[in-house]
Each structure stands twice: as structure tokens, then as C-alpha cells.
């Protein structure tokens, strides 16, 4: 009690040991693995003058590529949240033959080299592919259009939603649904008023992960996208193109914009998630 109050209470008395060691390791690790490469990015970008920087990032081709990357990543993440939630529901709530196999299939987009995924999807959705040939008479072209990009991003993003929501739904006490039903709620009311609010934070996390992955996705997209500048060219591809032209500073300028934008979006989603959790009354 008589300890000097001038010392900032950076650490509190705790029975959990090793604060100094683990905190030190954490900061070193984060610094080496995350912060160092990122600062290199900013340093390289700073070789540019401000005017040049603004000129690069406001060029029509850059703006369009960013728009395609972020816009389509959002669309794909939204699609994944809806259908991922349905997949989770089926996997958690029902028993069916080959359930374990279906469950394992979810992880394939994690493991498959993205280029393989891209080539496979392109073959399927091309005008003479299995699915593409069915869609072509309807006037829908998937390969080599922005729609193709969405298909690829949905493919690689699905496991993020499923794997974040699955444990939360599995933990959700079935008694909650029984209680709602005994109080007279219909299935839809139970779903909307009881189940969804409980898995909402997990859905947001899944959305954020799927979105973040989709923004940075390169391998699977470039095969199916067609890569027409101003139509279906994604920002990561534009960065690669600039690198191949030895315009390193231009490449890092675009990368910086992507990084900052991603960071801001993830921050917003994180805030949303905290708000949803608070509303969930989980903070006692």
C-alpha cells in the first residue's frame, strides 16, 4: 500500500507468471514478422514526392484496380457470410452420411495452391466448360469478367466464415431454441431473435477474415479474371505489373494505399464486432 504512486502501474500483481518474458517475445515477434516488412514498404514509398504519389494513386487504372479489388472482395465476403452460415447450420445441426467428408471438404480452399484453384475454376466457367456452357445460352459470362473474380474470391473465402462460426454455433445451447419455441416463437422468430444475435460477432469475424483474404488474393484471380485494365484488373496484379516494369516505388505506392484501406476497414469491422459482443451482454 505504501508503494510509490509515481510508478506507472504497467503491470498488475497477477498469479499468471512470465509477463516480462512473454510480452518481450510478443513485441519482438510482431516487430520482426509484421512491422519490419511494413515499414520497409513505407520507406520505399517515401522515395516518391507527394505529387508523384498522388498522381500514381489517382491514375484511372490504379483507381479502377483498387475499386475492383475492394468492391469485389466485399461482395464475395457478403456472399460467403450468407452461404457460409447455411453450411455451418447444416454441418452443426444435422447428421447425414459422409458428414465428416463434407466437413473436410470445407478446408480444401485453404490447402489448394491458389493457382490450381484459379485454373480449375477458369476451366469450369469458360464458355466451353461444364458450368460455363450451361450459363452461356443465358447470356451469362463468368470467366474473364468481374463475375469470375467474385467466383474465385467466394471459393477461397468460404472456409474463413465456416471455421469461425462453426464452433460458436456448436456451443450455442440448444435449450435456448427450445426455450424460445416453448414461449411461442416460430422457427423464423427463433432464428432471427435468438440464434443470429448469438452468432453475430462470429459472423462478423468470419466476414472480416474472408474479406481480408479476398482483398489480397492474387493466384486464383489472375487466371479467371482476364485482367483487362479498367475492367477486370485487380490491384495486386497491377502491383506485380509495376514491379515487372521495375517501377518499384509505383508498386509500393499502390501497396501502401491497399494496406491503409485494409487496415481501416478491418478496424471498423473490429469495432462493429466489439459492439455486437457488448450488445450480447457477454461482458459481465
Amino acid at each position: 500500500m505504501s508503494a510509490s504512486p509515481s510508478r506507472i502501474a504497467f503491470r498488475q500483481q497477477s498469479v499468471i507468471p512470465g509477463f516480462g518474458l512473454t510480452m518481450g517475445l510478443t513485441l519482438t515477434w510482431l516487430g520482426l514478422i509484421v512491422l519490419l516488412p511494413l515499414s520497409a514498404l513505407f520507406i520505399k514509398t517515401s522515395e516518391l514526392t507527394l505529387d508523384r504519389f498522388i498522381a500514381i494513386i489517382t491514375a484511372a487504372r490504379t483507381l479502377h484496380a483498387l475499386q475492383v479489388s475492394f468492391g469485389l472482395a466485399l461482395v464475395a465476403a457478403l456472399v460467403n457470410v450468407v452461404f457460409g452460415a447455411i453450411v455451418v447450420w447444416v454441418l452443426v445441426r444435422y447428421d447425414f452420411p459422409f458428414k465428416k467428408v463434407a466437413d473436410a471438404l470445407i478446408d480444401i480452399p485453404f490447402a489448394l495452391p491458389t493457382a490450381v484453384a484459379g485454373i480449375a475454376l477458369t476451366a469450369l466457367y469458360a464458355e466451353n466448360g461444364w458450368i460455363g456452357s450451361l450459363l452461356a445460352p443465358l447470356g451469362i459470362q463468368v470467366s474473364f469478367t468481374p463475375l469470375g473474380i467474385v467466383v474465385a474470391l467466394v471459393f477461397i473465402g468460404l472456409p474463413f466464415v465456416v471455421r469461425t462460426v462453426q464452433p460458436v454455433l456448436a456451443d450455442l445451447d440448444q435449450e435456448l431454441e427450445e426455450a424460445a419455441a416453448s414461449l411461442g416463437a416460430t422457427r423464423v422468430q427463433t432464428l432471427v431473435k435468438v440464434v443470429l444475435p448469438s452468432i453475430w460477432p462470429a459472423l462478423l469475424t468470419g466476414f472480416a477474415l474472408a474479406f481480408a483474404r479476398a482483398v489480397g488474393e492474387y493466384g486464383s484471380v489472375i487466371f479467371i479474371a482476364g485482367n483487362l485494365p479498367g475492367v477486370s484488373e485487380i490491384a495486386p496484379l497491377l502491383i506485380v505489373i509495376r514491379l515487372e516494369e521495375f517501377r518499384y516505388a509505383d508498386a509500393t505506392a499502390i501497396a501502401t494505399v491497399m494496406l491503409v484501406a485494409s487496415f481501416l476497414l478491418l478496424l471498423i469491422i473490429n469495432r462493429l464486432q466489439r459492439w455486437a459482443e457488448l450488445r450480447g451482454g457477454r461482458n459481465a
Binding site: 426455450a179 424460445a180 419455441a181 416453448s182 414461449l183 431473435k193 459481465a284
Partner: protein, 350 residues
């Protein structure tokens, strides 16, 4: 509302949870389903609620078939063991849930909902917690919320699944009295599932003792305690001293020694003589049906128990006898056991 359960059987894969159960619960009664885990009591409650369907048999509410109605149409208030409160809603919204989900002609105006919820919160004495979330409440408070929520739909039947199971002893006792009081104030038929005999005996008008998916006995708390219908009920409710014996030619024997006790009509064969500890006197070893050696004497609070080893042809049998106040008993001494009130049941075949 009268509830009739007729010939209900329920199997989970190979396990028979309920085996041809028949039970009538009268309007306004508070009935306790009492039994060990796995006796089928919770399954029976869930079938009455409509959360589970029987394989065969009928459930009738006031003579009408209830099985054709789903849980949301049965108008039963169900209180879950672990409360099952909605964590993302505060206490007020939890209680209001059953009123807010109503559609069409039953829909209540907001003012009526507020009035009803506030009335219920005062009834369960937690009106000052209306704005809190479930995570901020103690176990006893959560149980009160769960009860208020179940009562909001004005149920004619209140079903409680081990409602006090997760609470500490003191809170449990207090809530028990209060629940009894509440049951008397409301026009409701209540069914309570419990494995706690004290709870069942103190709270219920009638106790249904269940074991292995069957009803062993239905009766008032005094009946099931004083006149257990089966050895299972005798063992399960209250404390039991089990003395071994055998019926031969209409008389009870222990080994070759005639006990001089009434076989109570039990047929020839191995039998169990069951008695309450306070109904067995310690006496001079020469004069009593049973005699044995004291192995140890233990004291818990006001009661003292002695482990007495009875020697017979089939090897030693240890029974636990109550030692009256003022009597000292040394380990190693010989002592006689004299059952004053007892029940004889045939030994189940193994």
C-alpha cells in the same frame, strides 16, 4: 389443467428411457418426478412439454390429444435447469419475449407488455434488475428470471426441470419455499423434476418415484417415505438399513437361524429386510434377530452410526446402524439389532 400420460414408451437407440408409463396429474397439483439420473424423469417432462415425442402412447391435456400440438401451441411454461436465458437481451426483454413474438390477433400493445412484464418482475421480486443482462446476475436471480419468462405466456402448466439443481444449498431452500408459495397463488398445474428427495418431499403434493424408465410409486410425500411400495423406493428415499434374510416355509431366516420376524407375505427365496435407521434398536445380542461385531463408530453432527458386521454362512455382511444418544459403543463389542418397523422385499434375481 389435467394431464394424462397413457402408455408412453420412449427409446433412444437401444436405451429405453420410458417403459409404458401411465400417470395422471390433476389440475392445480404440484407433482414432483423424483428419481436417480437415467430414470427417465426428464424425458417424461420433455414429452409433456412437447420438446420430445414418445414412440408409443398418448399425452392428453384436459382430455384433448396434446401430441398433435407442437411445443409452441401447447402453452406450457418450461423452466430449464441451466435457465436458458437469452444472453443478448436484458432481464426485461427476456421476460417480454413470449409476449413480443405473438402475431396477429394475440399481439399486445407495447403498454400492455410493459405492464405485464413489470407485474411479473415484482411477482418474482427482481423488478430492480430489469435493465441488467443475464451475465450480471447470480444463479438464484437467473432462475427467477427464467420463471418470470415462463409465466409471461400465462401457461396453464408449469414444467420445471431440476430448477434448483445448479444453486447452492441455502438459496435452493429459500427458492423452494417461494416456489411453493407462487404455485398456490397462480392457477397453474406444476410438474417438477428433481433427483433431490428433500426437495420433492418438501415441495410436492404428490411424488412420483421413477427408476429405470418405470414409475415405482405415486403417493403423497408421507406415503412414499413411510410405506415404500418397492425396495427401490425404500432404498432411494430416506436412509435404509438393509438386512439380509431368506424366506423358507413362510418364515424368515438368516442362515440357519430363525429370525422371528414377519415375512409380510413374501414368497420363499432370498429376501431383503429394509428398515429406517431410527426404526432399528440396538440391544443385547442374545435376545435379537440379528447380532454382530461393531467395526467402527462414526459421528456426523447429531447422529452417530455404527458399522456392524453380521456373520452368516454366505460370508460377512456389514450394515450401518444408528446409535442412540447416551449410548456408548466400542469397536469390537458384540451388539444385537432389533428392527421395530421394517419391510420385507424379495431379493431381485441377479
Amino acid at each position: 389443467m389435467t394431464i394424462d400420460v397413457v402408455g408412453v414408451t420412449k427409446r433412444f437407440k437401444t436405451f429405453t428411457a420410458l417403459d409404458h408409463v401411465n400417470l395422471t396429474i390433476h389440475s392445480g397439483e404440484l407433482v414432483a418426478l423424483l428419481g436417480p439420473s437415467g430414470s427417465g424423469k426428464t424425458t417424461l417432462l420433455r414429452i409433456i412439454a412437447g420438446l420430445e415425442w414418445p414412440d408409443t402412447g398418448e399425452v392428453r391435456f384436459d382430455g384433448e390429444d396434446a401430441l398433435t400440438r407442437s411445443v409452441r401451441e401447447r402453452n406450457v411454461g418450461f423452466v430449464f435447469q441451466h435457465y436458458a436465458l437469452f444472453r443478448h437481451m436484458n432481464v426485461f426483454e427476456n421476460v417480454a419475449f413470449g409476449l413480443r413474438v405473438r402475431r396477429g390477433a394475440d399481439k399486445l400493445p407495447e403498454a400492455a407488455i410493459r405492464e405485464k412484464v413489470n407485474e411479473l418482475l415484482s411477482l418474482v421480486q427482481i423488478d430492480w434488475l430489469a435493465e441488467r443482462y443475464p451475465a450480471q446476475l447470480s444463479g438464484g436471480q437467473r432462475q427467477r428470471v427464467a420463471l418470470a419468462r415462463a409465466l409471461a405466456i400465462s401457461p396453464r402448466v408449469l414444467l420445471l426441470d431440476e430448477p434448483f439443481g445448479a444453486l447452492d444449498a441455502k438459496v435452493r431452500k429459500e427458492l423452494r419455499r417461494w416456489l411453493r408459495h407462487l404455485h398456490e397463488e397462480l392457477p397453474v398445474t406444476s410438474v417438477l423434476v428433481t433427483h433431490d428427495q428433500e426437495e420433492a418431499l418438501e415441495l410436492a403434493d404428490r411424488v412420483v418415484v421413477m427408476g429405470h424408465g418405470r414409475i415405482e410409486q405415486v403417493g403423497s410425500p408421507a406415503e412414499v417415505y413411510d410405506n415404500p411400495a418397492t425396495a427401490f423406493v425404500h432404498d432411494f428415499i430416506g436412509e435404509t438399513i438393509a438386512l439380509p434374510g431368506e424366506v423358507r416355509g413362510g418364515a424368515l431366516y438368516f442362515g440357519s437361524h430363525a429370525l422371528g420376524l414377519d415375512p409380510q407375505g413374501v414368497a420363499d427365496g432370498p429376501a431383503r429386510i429394509l428398515a429406517r435407521p431410527h426404526d432399528v434398536d440396538l440391544a443385547d445380542p442374545g435376545t435379537t434377530p440379528f447380532a454382530g461385531k461393531v467395526l467402527a463408530v462414526r459421528t456426523f453432527g447429531p447422529t452417530r452410526r455404527a458399522d456392524v458386521e453380521l456373520t452368516s454362512t454366505g460370508g460377512p455382511v456389514v450394515v450401518e446402524a444408528a446409535v442412540p444418544h447416551g449410548q456408548t459403543l466400542e469397536p469390537g463389542t458384540k451388539v444385537g439389532l432389533l428392527p421395530r418397523r421394517y419391510k420385507v422385499f424379495p431379493q431381485p434375481a441377479r
